[in-house]
């Protein structure tokens, strides 16, 4: 029974993710005061992509790339408790399992894109991996004080440990929270740090050779990715939520990143990495020091 429950769960999250992407396009449209597509547009896009007759593939690894990407994000989803709603497997793994599974996605996509032997794709991947040097560190340093404070590495227990509104981790550790926000912007690949899929510069980066169903898979991967990344952030900083409040929380966080995405221009890659080693790094170190002093 749990297998069916697992499929349903995954489908639900994918659809919600696609709706988030539709909402994002709607928000950016309204910011540019135009109507923008209907919210369910991404679902249509995915269906259209899967309906494509035949798409070009450059080898087994090329076609397996999106598959591994989706595997990575799906596996991470399973280990991530959504609010205090406990999914199947969060007991068998903690923060580090999630962090390392998060990397499997981009690595799989990178392998596939690498196989497509297109220089745009490779430049895109080089940027994606270098960006990780920037935001991954800040994200980890932002979440570290929370885990250290509650003395556990399992996300579920961190959620339980945080009480009602006034003693959320976001309130107790404001500096780390802000640093986490900076990191989230990079993690999601939103506009100031949208160097990986920069359509104008490197023709949508790694996705340059992906068409049809591969692109469909990558869209789903991106959709689930939004939920997982924002969900992780919400779990750590916003404490125990019912499933509804959890999705509301993720949407609010997602809404914030989309707004920033709609108005910000794009960094050059070395500027982006250097930016992360500037203010956000300082903030996260302050966060850690705060834990030492305050605890």
């Amino acid at each position: 029974m749990s297998i069916l429950y697992f499929f349903l769960y995954l489908l639900l999250v994918t659809i919600i993710g696609l709706l988030y992407m539709g909402a994002a396009r709607k928000i950016t449209a309204h910011i540019q005061n135009r109507y923008g597509p209907p919210v369910y547009q991404p679902i249509l896009d995915v269906l259209k992509l899967f309906a494509k007759k035949d798409t070009a593939s450059h080898g087994i690894m090329h076609s397996l790339g999106p598959v591994i990407a989706y595997t990575g994000i799906a596996a991470t989803l399973l280990f991530l408790p959504l609010g205090n709603h406990t999914p199947l497997l969060h007991f068998n793994g903690d923060l580090f399992v999630v962090l390392y599974l998060l990397v499997v996605g981009p690595l799989g996509m990178a392998l596939g894109a690498g196989e497509s032997a297109n220089s745009n794709a490779t430049i895109g991947i080089a940027r994606a991996l270098s960006m990780m040097l920037g935001y991954e560190i800040i994200f980890f340093m932002a979440t570290l004080p929370v885990f250290y404070h509650y003395g556990t590495a399992s996300i579920y227990r961190v959620i339980q440990a945080q009480g009602a509104f006034p003693d959320w981790a976001a309130i107790l550790f404001p500096i780390s929270f802000i640093a986490g926000l900076f990191a989230l912007q990079g993690l999601m690949g939103e506009k100031p740090f949208e160097l990986v899929v920069a359509p104008h510069e490197i023709a949508s980066g790694p996705m340059v050779e992906y068409g049809g169903k591969y692109l469909g898979l990558l869209q789903i991967w991106h959709a689930v990715g939004i939920i997982v990344e924002t969900g992780l952030f919400v779990d750590i900083f916003f404490g125990p939520q019912s499933i509804l409040w959890f999705f509301a929380g993720t949407f609010i966080v997602f809404f914030a990143t989309v707004i920033v995405n709609a108005v910000m221009p794009r960094f050059r890659i070395e500027q982006a990495v250097r930016f992360y080693w500037g203010l956000p790094l300082l903030l996260s170190i302050l966060g850690i020091l705060q834990v030492y002093i305050w605890r």
């Binding site: 499929f7 494509k52 035949d54 070009a56 593939s57 450059h58 076609s63 999106p66 598959v67 591994i68 989706y70 595997t71 799906a74 596996a75 399973l78 497997l89 068998n92 793994g93 923060l95 580090f96 399992v97 390392y100 599974l101 499997v104 690595l107 990178a110 392998l111 690498g114 196989e115 497509s116 032997a117 297109n118 220089s119 490779t122 430049i123 991947i125 080089a126 991996l129 990780m132 040097l133 991954e136 560190i137 340093m141 885990f147 250290y148 003395g151 556990t152 590495a153 399992s154 050779e209 049809g212 591969y214 469909g216 898979l217 050059r268 890659i269 990495v273 170190i285 850690i288 834990v291």
Partner: protein
């Protein structure tokens, strides 16, 4: 006695394979059989606790097989066999195998040695013969790097000797015994001196200058044993000095341990950065090997039960995936005669098995779950957080991020991207390499999924010195902080992979696009259009790091060495060349002495 017979056996096989040098086939068979018998002899007869001392009138050499020496001995001998099988494909002369066997003898003898002088003797033997092995390297720069390696390892050896003499002077015993009861700063000095050679062998930051060149220039198959096996002697040394020689180090010198951990973290981070700046596959792997050994140093620096078990497990992991990577690169070199990432590319089409080997190797190097790299990294992080120094944890995390960068650059440079014209009809790596790859893949996955198999012996070693706190069984590991069930993680990844494969299959079919059918803004491209972007892969990161990238410890060291050459100039100046001046020296000397002794005359 068993230990002495083992070493004797190895030396004899070495000599026999030297004598049989020209007859290739016979020599290879003998060499292979010798290694295998040594391995099984090692497993069957060497029991921990076996004591044996050999009296050669001048000094008596004491051997003792402890648990840790068993652990490392098995790793090193196994890697030696894999190295041997792969090396039959290269054309090596008899002397190559003689030196290989003598290096192995030195390494094993170091593991067994109980008294410090014989420890130094075998350490020097190992350094000398591995120097000769590197000297037989393939490129013309291998002389310079071999020489650098020799000077560095002899520097380590002499520091160790100095430490030994200090120890013997104060404790009047040559045995590897405890020195923590000594008074004053001398025990810190002895500790640092005894630790130096192992920091050199395991390429800790300030002592790592020899490693990249030596790993790059030595013969490819030997690098497998060199970086996988011999660096384990460094790790064994850490364990030996930090636990057996200086038992109450945590109590007496906690700051030394903290500095040691930070040094390990800095090594991991910096060599990670240098790794992804390299354009040569072997140099990249050399820096990656140094980076991985940095984690082991961090593990020892934390000095809790978790961290030491993590360090030993990571040392084993390093032996497995580092030798796997070097083996695959050796196979690629054997076929394409180049290790320069810019010249290779697209070999996945021609060498699929090697690609799988390298893929799992880099997954293990970056510590992604189903492989052996993940449990040790996970345990290391748990230990770091439990210990409480979060800044160190962040630096270690930064170092493990660099692992993703350089491992992807490696796999992309060699296997992905455009297949060059000259590699059109390159065949798969020969049997020796393929066998080694497959053999190494098994522990890489099995120990990744059920780490309990190996945690048990490791815990058994560390339990003797540190209070056991790590709860573990065959499948999962838990610490006060968190709990991981590794088979479940592996299973989940397999399940989701099957799911997404299913989604992929039900969608439409795809056709195999030809290599030139590529999006290049609709320009027509032909064969020699350079699509393979491998050189300067992270070029822009140079701008991101900016000037600090140019600082290197080598410059500081060379400035220091200038001092010696200055002194040399001064010393040389005395011998002016004119006989009369010499005469003047003699007379002046006597005049001076007479004056000094004048009082007593």
């Amino acid at each position: 006695m068993a230990m002495f017979y083992l070493l004797l056996l190895l030396v004899l096989v070495g000599i026999v394979s030297f004598v049989l040098g020209p007859i290739k086939v016979l020599r290879n068979i003998i060499a292979f059989l010798g290694a295998v018998t040594a391995f099984f002899y090692f497993l069957t007869n060497i029991k921990p606790g076996l004591i044996y001392s050999l009296n050669i009138r001048v000094y008596n050499v004491h051997f003792e097989a402890g648990f840790s020496s068993m652990f490392f001995g098995v790793i090193i001998t196994a890697l030696f066999i894999i190295f041997l099988i792969a090396s039959f494909h290269e054309e090596n002369d008899g002397a190559y195998y003689l030196f290989a066997y003598l290096t192995l003898t030195g390494a094993l003898a170091v593991l067994f040695a109980k008294d410090l002088i014989s420890f130094f003797f075998f350490f020097e033997t190992m350094s000398l013969f591995s120097f000769l092995m590197v000297l037989k390297g393939k490129s013309d720069t291998s002389f310079r790097s071999a020489f650098k390696y020799l000077v560095w390892s002899v520097f380590g050896g002499y520091a160790f000797l100095m430490g030994t003499f200090l120890k013997v002077y104060y404790t009047h015993s040559v045995m590897i015994g405890d020195i923590s009861y000594l008074a004053g700063g001398v025990k810190l000095l002895i500790l640092i001196l005894l630790l130096a050679p192992f920091a050199v062998k395991a390429a800790l930051m300030p002592f790592h200058l020899w490693a990249p060149d030596a790993y790059k220039d030595s013969k490819d198959t030997f690098t497998v044993f060199f970086s996988g096996g011999l660096s384990k002697i460094g790790v064994f040394g850490y364990f030996l000095v930090l636990f057996k020689v200086f038992t109450e180090i945590a109590v007496k010198y906690p700051y030394f341990l903290k500095a040691f951990a930070w040094l390990g973290a800095i090594t991991a981070a910096l060599s990670g950065i240098y790794a992804f700046m390299q354009d040569d596959a072997k140099k990249l792997l050399a820096y990656s090997s140094i980076s991985q050994l940095g984690y082991v140093a961090v593990g020892f620096g934390i000095y809790t039960h978790f961290s030491v078990v993590a360090a030993l497990f990571h040392a084993l992991g390093h032996a497995v995936f580092e030798s796997l990577l070097f083996l695959v690169v050796a196979g690629v070199y054997y076929r394409t005669k180049t290790t320069d990432l810019r010249k290779m590319g697209g070999l996945i089409k021609r060498m699929p098995l090697s690609f799988i080997g390298l893929l799992f190797g880099i997954i293990a190097t970056s510590g992604i779950p189903p492989t052996i790299g993940f449990p040790s990294k996970w345990l290391l992080y748990e230990a770091l957080i439990l210990k409480g120094d979060l800044l160190l944890t962040s630096l270690v995390f930064f170092a493990s991020i660099t692992a993703f960068l350089y491992s992807y650059k490696l796999v992309h440079g060699i296997f992905l991207g455009k297949l060059h014209e000259e590699h059109k009809n390159v065949k798969e790596a020969p049997l020796g390499y393929a066998f080694g790859t497959v053999v190494l893949l098994v522990p890489l996955l099995v120990l990744g999924i059920i780490p309990g198999l190996v945690i048990k012996p490791i815990d058994y070693i560390v339990r003797f010195y540190l209070k056991p706190e790590l709860g573990y069984n065959l499948a999962n590991m838990n610490t006060p902080l968190g709990h991981v069930n590794f088979p479940v993680v592996g299973l989940v990844m397999g399940l989701t992979f099957a799911l997404s494969l299913f989604i992929y299959l039900i969608a439409g079919k795809s056709y195999r696009a030809e290599q030139t059918d590529n999006y290049t803004a609709t320009e027509a491209i032909d064969e020699d259009f350079e699509l393979h972007y491998a050189g300067e892969f992270y070029g822009f990161m140079k701008k991101a790091f900016g000037r600090p990238l140019t600082w290197s410890f080598e410059k500081i060291l060379n400035a220091f060495l200038k001092l010696f050459s200055f002194l040399g100039e001064v010393a040389r100046g005395f011998y002016m060349g004119d006989a009369r001046v010499y005469l003047f020296y003699v007379i002046a000397f006597f005049a001076l002495l007479a004056y000094l002794m004048g009082g007593k005359l």
